[in-house]
Point group: C2
Chain length 133, copies 2
């Protein structure tokens, strides 16, 4: 079975590009610099479904995204989470948080209403370059 | 500098035991089978602060906790998250979720009021055995 991006992720995000393991997405919510990494493997649901041989790559890719978001946006904290209650396909949120952001100190999920980017494609292109994809 | 568990984590959780890398805690909230893994390293804040040499152990320990919670509680989904907006010490939540739980399909943080365990020490002891600690 081939990997196929879940339609909800495709609808809610801009494509940044593909790391060796994950597809990198930018959530279309200008309030938080917020990426999602989706391992390009079929039929994964929970984090522990990931093959052991893919774990190092996932960690490396989380590391790259975290450091870039922190550098670009002056994050006070990086939130990393694999939840998947609403979209069952395994995906990992990497979110740059600041003490003055719209949800601090709570988590971002379900808080208020997303503010779409004016230039989401440009933002995704900038991240693609920063991630060296 | 030696590892010392953050006082908020110590206050809100029962001690389960120590894996090779992490201290395993049980959050005192009977609504959700909810563990926290705290790498026993000083001065870690974000997930990407973890040394590369410790990553495999963290993943292994998340894997053990996830599988045990899923087995014991018939989880529909396991949520794994390193947030740390309120407690800056790096810690990883591993939470067993069911479609009939008090927060589904949202995340558990900040939802309602924690329901303390009647027998938290016994629950922690059961998990210690299941985690083979």
């Amino acid at each position: 079975m081939a990997f196929e991006l879940h339609h909800r992720l495709a609808a809610d995000c801009f494509l940044i590009g593909d790391f060796s393991l994950c597809r990198a997405l930018l959530v279309d919510d200008n309030r938080f610099p917020w990426c999602i990494l989706v391992p390009r493997r079929a039929a994964l649901c929970d984090l522990h479904d990931l093959a052991e041989t893919d774990r190092a790559a996932l960690f490396d890719e989380i590391d790259v995204v975290s450091r870039v978001l922190k550098e670009l946006h002056g994050a006070d904290k990086i939130n990393v989470a694999a939840l998947g209650n609403q979209v069952p396909q395994l995906h990992v949120h990497v979110i740059s948080r600041r003490v003055d952001d719209a949800a601090w100190p709570g988590p971002v999920w379900g808080v208020g209403t997303a503010v779409p980017y004016a230039e989401g494609l440009a933002e995704a292109a900038q991240l693609k370059q920063a991630f060296k994809l």
